[in-house]
């Protein structure tokens, strides 16, 4: 996807970071006619973008504590329903008051929502139990708000696809090791290709730092200090949906007070702990975190106590430190755009940070405005009106699951929207299921591998949901690895990839490995190690983790 003369070319802008913000910025810049290169050190959406609830906030959660963020959220919420239809499920949300909570808070909450422009209707607890049977039946109050579920992987890919359609180039597995600085001007980036170890320098007129929590390091390489506030949050994924609406606690934000129905699963979260910046790459979930999530989660939906947990994961909120709050919750989720020329005397370098996945588009707009101001570009921003590829008005979409499609095809339409039309489905092989839990066909894998920047099985998982079901890759990973081997003609690499993928799946299962999840993992281990000898065929020791 990158032209060969990358070394000689000077881009208008290089964007560092392949999360939602970077992708949104790349799209906006490309739509305004700039020549764009986006670089990402791992896979796209591996940072905070891919490690949250998948909640499309109405903004209600922030209404009481942070009115500005709340207003941004509801505005972006309405935009995403239009431009990213295939990434969004319009579930609506409830803010419930339990007997242990103060019902007075409900009034404060509703008033704050109204001030922010968020529709918040108080409904009868009986009505809440009717529309969301999973809710704790002891609730004493409920407010209905326009929360929704959103798939951050699809959202990011959708933005990258559109950026590429408009001429942008994108590179994953390229890590920025430093900036090219001439006098007081940033003129490009020094890259390490993590797939082959090559080091290259690429030039541009502006560099945008959209690397989230890792943006502090990027800035440091240029001697610029940004003080990030890493707040870590852990989440649990349950094996199936118990709820079909987002359920929040109507109280001051605290641990494990949001349950989101995401695709075929539901997710409870989060915890919040301030962590040292040096540990932001450590995503292990502790036993204490699991305990807290479960203990609080069952208060929202009692059936969580008896529902299988398939994984635990954690993410780091890229907040910008502004005070000394140890919980990290009263801090603003506000967007921070730093023009380092003004702030630090370093020309052609912009940092876009803070904010949240929900406001990625607005962050992209703000960053692009700053870039355009430097480059003298006056094109207007159109990202709020132009649908992402997959979300066009015509073509099949999530609401159009007509009977003429097979199960796998319908699942693919749910994931790719109108782009599902590009998936081959004219013969039995293309329609055969690779991942049976999530309904991923051979055709969908071909499409993802050839068109969505897939280097390994973990990338493939983020593009398609392969291996994200209850068996966590037991049946599909060998089939998918076999297809990848067929495409790359590299059996050895496919084998290593398979072992690495199963290892990655196990990491998420380990903190919750009891009961059926443990049985599942043991069967997987018996098949791949005991029966197939994968552990003796492939030695993962010492391999760098490039997931």
């Amino acid at each position: 996807m990158v032209t060969n003369d990358i070394y000689n070319k000077e881009y208008d802008v290089i964007i560092v970071g392949g999360g939602a913000t970077g992708a949104g910025t790349a799209r906006d810049c490309a739509l305004r006619g700039l020549s764009v290169l986006l670089v990402e050190r791992n896979d796209y959406s591996t940072g905070a973008t891919g490690r949250n609830h998948g909640l499309m906030h109405s903004g209600a959660r922030y209404a009481v504590t942070d009115g500005e963020s709340a207003s941004e959220c509801i505005s972006e919420n309405m935009i995403l329903r239009r431009i990213a239809r295939h990434c969004v499920e319009e579930t609506d949300g409830l803010f419930i008051t339990l007997p242990e909570d103060d019902l007075q808070y409900q009034q404060t909450f509703v008033e704050a929502c109204q001030r922010a422009g968020i529709s918040a209707d108080i409904i009868d607890p009986e009505e809440a139990r009717r529309i969301e049977p999973a809710v704790n039946p002891q609730l004493i109050g409920a407010v209905r708000v326009p929360d929704a579920a959103i798939d951050p992987f699809r959202l990011t890919v959708g933005n990258l696809l559109d950026a590429r359609l408009h001429g942008a180039e994108t590179l994953n597995y390229h890590e920025v090791e430093g900036l090219i600085i001439n006098q007081n001007r940033v003129e490009g980036v020094k890259l390490l290709n993590k797939l082959n170890g090559e080091r290259i320098e690429v030039r541009s007129r502006v560099v945008v730092n959209a690397a989230g929590i890792w943006g502090q390091r990027i800035a440091q390489t240029a001697g610029v200090n940004i003080s990030m506030f890493p707040a870590r949050g852990a989440l649990l994924i349950f094996g199936h949906r118990v709820n079909n609406m987002v359920i929040n606690r109507c109280r001051k934000p605290a641990n494990a007070d949001i349950l989101v129905p995401d695709d075929t699963v539901c997710v409870i979260g989060t915890t919040s702990d301030r962590i040292p910046i040096e540990t932001v790459d450590d995503m292990r979930v502790t036993r204490e975190e699991v305990d807290v999530l479960l203990k609080e989660g069952v208060k929202i939906a009692p059936s969580l106590a008896t529902t299988r947990i398939i994984r635990a994961y954690a993410g780091v909120r890229p907040l910008v430190a502004s005070d000394d709050d140890p919980s990290g919750r009263s801090i603003s989720r506000g967007i921070v755009c730093l023009d380092h020329a003004k702030r630090d005397g370093l020309e052609s370098f912009i940092t876009i940070t803070g904010g949240k996945m929900m406001t990625y588009r607005l962050m992209g707009e703000i960053a692009t405005n700053a870039v355009c101001a430097k480059l003298g570009n006056t094109a207007p921003c159109v990202t709020a009106n132009q649908p992402l590829p997959g979300s066009e008005e015509d073509g099949p979409n999530q609401g159009d699951l007509t009977k003429r499609y097979s199960f796998g095809q319908r699942a693919a339409i749910g994931r790719h929207g109108s782009l599902a039309a590009r998936i081959e489905k004219d013969n039995d092989i293309d329609n055969a299921l690779v991942c049976e839990c999530e309904g991923v066909t051979v055709g969908e894998i071909k499409y993802a591998v050839h068109q969505l920047h897939v280097h390994n099985l973990v990338n493939l998982r983020r593009r398609t949901r392969v291996g994200m079901g209850t068996c966590q890759g037991k049946l599909c990973s060998c089939r998918a690895a076999s297809l990848m081997g067929e495409f790359s003609h590299d059996v050895k690499r496919a084998q290593e990839d398979l072992a690495a993928f199963l290892d990655e799946r196990w990491k998420g299962m380990r903190p919750v490995a009891w009961g059926d999840t443990l049985r599942e993992a043991q069967l997987t281990a018996s098949i791949y190690e005991g029966l197939c000898g994968l552990d003796t065929a492939v030695n993962l020791q010492g391999k760098e983790d490039v997931q």
């Binding site: 199936h240 949906r241 695709d263 036993r287 203990k295 529902t307 049976e436 309904g439 049985r519």
Partner: protein, 421 residues
């Protein structure tokens, strides 16, 4: 703390306990013959996660499921796979009208009542090629199928005229749920049961009110009617058990399975208090012999070679051993136990034009096994297996109760059980 809270994972029909081992798919008779059906694992626990997300993900291929329950027998994790599939079908078809064909096939008792009145005409007409062609093309009932012949006299009419009076004289008593097939098509099986039970000292009685068990109604989406009839049956069974202290015997494995297991799981009919009192006649008799409460004396000159076929619902209950061991008690009977394979008919499934070829493909292994067994007849506890095997192999198929009644030395048995006239 967390583990203790999570000790017991409860999901509807245990669908979360599935570890995706896929054993169920390897034993599924439908998946073995067509790629149109994704197999029980995909149709059941996998698809259920999507259907929870949005009922629109219902896959019409689920209609290909036979509900044979072989997946549930195979599952090492206790997942009620077929129930998950049946429930999904139920949710998808609830409120929709069943077709005339399905309604006709499902109402085995209504059709039987009408056909009994005009049995010779009905039998002749249903057997005629023009009739079959009309049914094939207009009603989509496959032309290869022959409807079981209707009897001129219902079992209940025979019973009231010829048997009812003598039953009170016996020391022990049972009730008999005869089912539609015995009542309308094959009263001889009911007569055989009465003969057999009387010979060992048991009086046989009808229930206060019996309606079709509803197995075909469930299969054809007529759930409300099935619930009504099921409640009537369980009420009658309750009276028999609690008021008269009579267990209820059956001679059809599908009626038995339906009333014991599908009533609570599919129709929500509570039967826990009487479930254990609903018993297949062969199992009841085997246990009486085993406990030395009765003796069976067989004819000296009896000599036959018969193959036993395990009906799917029989296998689900795990009761085939009772029928097999009971038949093995007959000294002159050379019994061949067939491999457990589905015959493909699955009640009304095989009658439908769209299913005919698949139905025969499923049964092919069984038919070959039967041909290789070189037997003069086949024994099975299910009437629809009987139709299918008779049509597909041209061998006669008999219920174990009829074989027993035929082989039994009635007089000697009566004496051995101390029954006088």
């Amino acid at each position: 703390m967390a583990e203790r809270m999570q000790l017991c994972n409860i999901s509807e029909n245990n669908f979360e306990q599935c570890t995706k081992c896929s054993i169920c798919t390897t034993v599924c008779p439908v998946a073995a013959v067509t790629t149109d059906y994704p197999g029980p694992k995909q149709a059941g626990p996998d698809g259920e996660r999507y259907r929870l997300k949005d009922p629109a993900y219902f896959d019409k291929a689920l209609k290909l499921c036979l509900n044979c329950k072989r997946c549930e027998v195979a599952c090492p994790s206790g997942v009620h796979i077929a129930d998950i599939i049946q429930h999904a079908r139920m949710r998808a078809t609830m409120g929709k009208r069943a077709s005339l064909r399905d309604t006709m096939l499902a109402n085995t008792d209504l059709l039987g009542t009408m056909a009994n009145l005009v049995a010779p005409v009905a039998n002749a007409t249903l057997g005629l090629s023009p009739t079959k062609l009309v049914m094939h093309s207009v009603m989509a009932i496959d032309k290869h199928r022959t409807f079981p012949a209707y009897s001129r006299q219902k079992f209940t009419t025979w019973f009231k005229r010829h048997a009812a009076k003598e039953q009170d004289a016996f020391a022990h008593h049972v009730s008999y749920f005869h089912g539609c097939y015995v009542n309308y098509n094959f009263p001889k099986l009911g007569q055989d049961l009465v003969k057999l039970m009387n010979a060992v000292g048991y009086g046989v009685h009808l229930l206060d009110k019996e309606q079709c068990c509803g197995v075909a109604l469930i299969a054809n989406g007529l759930y409300k009617q099935a619930m009504r009839q099921g409640r009537t049956n369980i009420d009658s069974i309750r009276k028999s058990v609690n008021r008269d202290h009579r267990v209820v015997l059956t001679t059809s494995s599908s009626c038995t399975f339906n009333m014991r297991d599908e009533y609570p799981s599919m129709l929500g009919i509570e039967n826990e208090d009487v479930r254990n009192s609903i018993n297949l006649a062969t199992r009841f008799i085997y246990n009486l012999v085993d406990e030395e409460k009765i003796k069976l004396i067989f004819k000296q000159n009896y000599k036959r070679r018969i193959a036993y076929h395990t009906a799917c619902h029989m296998q689900r209950m795990g009761w085939q051993l009772y029928s097999i061991e009971l038949l093995r008690m007959i000294p002159g009977l050379d019994l061949v136990e067939l491999e457990q394979n589905c015959c493909g008919i699955s009640g009304t499934y095989g009658f439908k034009k769209e299913n005919y070829e698949r139905s025969q493909a499923i049964g092919a292994t069984l038919f070959k096994d039967i041909a290789d067994a070189k037997v003069e007849a086949v024994a099975t506890d299910c009437e629809t297996c009987k139709w299918q095997i008779e049509m597909s192999t041209s061998l006669p198929v008999e219920n174990p109760i009829s074989i027993l009644a035929d082989a039994l030395d009635i007089e000697a048995t009566r004496q051995a059980n101390l029954i006088s006239d």
